[in-house]
């Protein structure tokens, strides 16, 4: 909508100018049109210096055997890319991403649930909003350490279970390879749910309240209101969260890196990239891995956009 609105006068401009060429407006217009570019210079310079130049460098490194230190880099053509696709163990780590991908649905469902409830007038709603959003504000490293203590044998989780008389459920939450990824993914849900929640809540609160009144007059209950008013209105936000969930799941890093260092089958593709670059000193290969991940995320986003195109929401 906004795109159309700004286009309109621009298209009308020249026509008006043709009609009355003597007007002083063109000069003022030219001076006016340079201003935004001057303002753009600083952010563009920062963006180019800190994003595009490094990315171009990364792509260049991915065609060399650079070890990150040497002053010499031998070009090796596509060897690094061939190595990634020739070794199944590089791809096996993507299975770990499935845990986080599955967890992101739990996360979105919870966030949506809380956002809906708290968008109606609930007692202490501001307090609950604060509580739910709070984990997102905590430093990720602190969360990692806290949860290591939470999950360790005899730690908070086990103690709580024992206090509740559920001794039978205690186990090695991080030590058991069949559970470790679930534990880590749950930590991730705990941490990032607040952000989804705030996004959804914001979208929900922008819905015109008169719609609810009208729905109530028509005899709609809370579930009907959610299904037919809230969900359609926030559909763009839900699909955005969905894209972010996929690319997020492919690029999980912080939580497993801090909590287990990728040990015990919790390595993700990004952890593997970091290990390759800084432990095995194969920066060339690691750059190629980063490029592959980038292409993957772009590909998946493109597919997602094809399947679920952006629709304009119109409830009126």
């Amino acid at each position: 909508m906004t795109g159309l609105a700004t286009d309109a006068p621009a298209a009308a401009g020249p026509r008006r100018r043709l009609a009355s060429p003597g007007e002083p407006s063109p000069r003022r217009r030219r001076r006016g049109s340079a201003t935004p570019y001057v303002f753009l210079l600083v952010p563009l310079a920062l963006l180019i210096t800190f994003t595009y130049v490094p990315v171009v460098n990364m792509v260049l490194y991915s065609f060399t055997d650079w070890n990150g230190i040497s002053r010499t880099k031998e070009p090796v053509g596509l060897d690094n890319y061939v190595a990634i696709f020739a070794r199944p163990e590089y791809f096996r780590v993507f299975f770990v991403s499935l845990y986080y991908f599955a967890a992101s649905f739990v996360q979105m469902a919870l966030a949506l649930y809380f956002a809906t409830i708290l968008s109606f007038s609930t007692r202490f709603r501001n307090l609950f909003k604060g509580i739910l959003f709070f984990p997102y504000l905590i430093n990720g490293v602190a969360i990692g350490f806290t949860f290591v203590y939470f999950f360790r044998p005899g730690g908070t989780l086990d103690t709580t279970l024992v206090a509740l008389g559920l001794e039978g459920l205690t186990q090695q939450w991080l030590g058991d390879p069949s559970i470790v990824n679930i534990s880590l993914a749950s930590t991730s849900v705990w941490r990032y749910m607040g952000l989804n929640f705030v996004l959804f809540l914001g979208a929900i609160q922008s819905i015109n309240p008169s719609l609810y009144e009208a729905a109530e007059l028509d005899g709609a209950n809370r579930w009907h209101q959610f299904r037919w008013i809230i969900l359609p209105s926030i559909q763009p936000i839900v699909s955005l969260s969905f894209i972010l969930a996929i690319s997020g799941a492919l690029a999980v890093f912080e939580i497993p890196f801090i909590m287990t260092g990728g040990a015990n089958g919790s390595t993700t593709f990004v952890i593997q990239t970091v290990t390759t670059a800084f432990e095995f000193r194969r920066v060339g290969l690691a750059s190629a891995m980063a490029v592959v991940l980038l292409l993957f995320v772009l590909l998946i986003t493109w597919i997602q956009r094809r399947i679920v195109p952006d629709e304009r929401v119109n409830l009126t």
Binding site: G68, R152, L244, G265
Partner: protein, 433 residues
């Protein structure tokens, strides 16, 4: 998960590319080491814990001897990571500890040669093998370590073990006695921190009693074949974990905490270099409880203990006060007393023996120092290792062994060793091309 996307893509890109962004670096040589001993020098150190105390005293003593020099310290927590990144510029101090991940072939690009191996090996230990290239020495050790096993004597006595184990079997028996006779965890792997597991790699040469042990790796396709050095070392780790002599949940271990555990006798042994003895004593209720054992393997009735240098002090090739930097390095090795204070072997051949290794007295024991790689093979073993992505000095490889041994990954010892052999052979072939 939204933030994760943004932050991790940023983290990946920036991590991988941080190095990338800083290119170039001046190659113009600065001053020479023969000039006047004067000027300001910056010394990089990894000892964040004592930089304001012990190092401040060093500075005072040094500046008293060389009044024209002014020393500034820069202590860095993540030493390896930060310094290797800074090395792509020229700004990495005047004197610095040469990062371990530098390939010998890269040394001349970044560091000033300190003298030939022949000259310096009359005075100093650890100059022939480590941080030397093309007959030139680039670093002098700050201290030296012997490799072995630090243990709690009181716990072992309580378990009834009084003899020093001389074979892996005897060592496992001792661990079993501790398991049965005491409440202590017999052996602590420090799996979660990862780097303590790499200490096992320090026992190169212990099994073969051969200073060429490390170089020999470049000439075999099967370092993990039965009876080979890595087979013996890794089998001991595997067997100890498999028998349940190690901590119940290795994934949640904690290095700082482990010192107290050993000191209080809640853990009976850890495989660590002799540098750890002083730290363990500091954390113990009774420092005399902390003892040191050689790796349990004898050749002809003699233990062979691997010794090696710790970090080496080197001079930045683009330093402007090389003479002053050189004076600091010599002073640090000869006069600071750092090595002895830290319970390590002195970098000087005529240096005093540390008290920490007094447990080795009376044992039939020989120190060995690994031999330098033959000409043309410098860095070859590292190159094969990195091609194979096994990572002798990275935790992943031994974490995998621990995971298999505790039944978490479903791999058997034979499968792991066969896979490692295959990867090594393939990488050797690839590097030889």
């Amino acid at each position: 998960m939204r933030k994760r996307t943004a932050s991790t893509t940023a983290v990946t890109t920036s991590l991988v590319l941080a190095l990338a962004a800083c290119g170039g670096g001046g190659d113009e040589p600065g001053a020479t080491q023969d000039g006047e001993i004067a000027g300001d020098i910056t010394v990089l150190t990894q000892r964040t814990d004592i930089v304001d105390t012990v190092f401040a005293e060093y500075k005072e003593a040094f500046e008293a001897e060389y009044p024209d020099v002014s020393v500034t310290f820069e202590a860095i927590t993540d030493y390896e990571g930060e310094v290797t990144t800074r090395m792509s510029t020229t700004d990495y101090g005047d004197v610095l500890l040469i990062p371990n991940s530098i390939n010998p072939t890269d040394l001349p690009d970044f560091f000033e040669p300190l003298g030939t191996v022949e000259e310096l090996s009359d005075t100093y230990r650890f100059v022939a093998t480590e941080q030397a290239y093309g007959g030139q020495v680039y670093g002098i050790a700050i201290t030296g370590n012997a490799q072995g096993i630090v243990y709690n004597k009181a716990v072992w006595e309580e378990a009834g073990v009084t003899e020093v184990p001389t074979s892996p079997e005897e060592f496992l028996d001792a661990l079993e006695a501790v398991q049965e006779g005491t409440d202590a965890i017999p052996l602590y792997t420090n799996y979660a921190d990862g780097w303590p597991l790499t200490q096992w790699e320090g026992h190169r040469g212990t099994v073969t009693a051969d200073p060429e042990a490390a170089n020999a790796l470049a000439h075999t396709d099967a370092p993990w074949a039965e009876g080979e050095e890595h087979f013996v070392i890794d089998s001991l780790l595997f067997d100890a974990v498999e028998a349940g002599y190690t901590e119940p949940d290795p994934v949640t271990t904690n290095w700082e905490e482990s010192k107290g555990l050993l000191g209080r006798g809640e853990v009976s042994a850890m495989v660590l270099g002799s540098w750890a003895i002083v730290q363990m004593q500091a954390a113990a209720e009774n420092p005399d409880d902390i003892g040191y054992l050689p790796f349990p393997y004898q050749v002809d009735g003699t233990f062979h203990v691997n010794t090696g240098g710790d970090y080496k002090n080197g001079i930045n090739v683009s330093s402007e006060n090389k003479a002053a930097a050189r004076a600091w390095i010599d002073w640090f090795a000869d006069e600071s007393g750092y090595a002895t204070d830290e319970g390590g072997l002195s970098p000087r051949l005529d240096g005093p023996d540390p008290d920490t290794l007094s447990d080795f007295e009376g044992l039939d024991l020989e120190y060995i120092e690994l031999a330098p790689a033959p000409d043309g093979e410098e860095g070859l073993v590292n190159e094969i290792d990195s091609q194979a992505q096994i990572g002798f000095w990275s935790p992943d490889y031994r974490q995998r062994i621990v995971d298999a041994a505790r039944g978490a990954s479903g791999e058997s010892k034979e499968e792991i060793f066969a896979d490692l052999n295959d990867r090594w052979a393939a990488a050797r072939a690839a590097v030889a091309d």
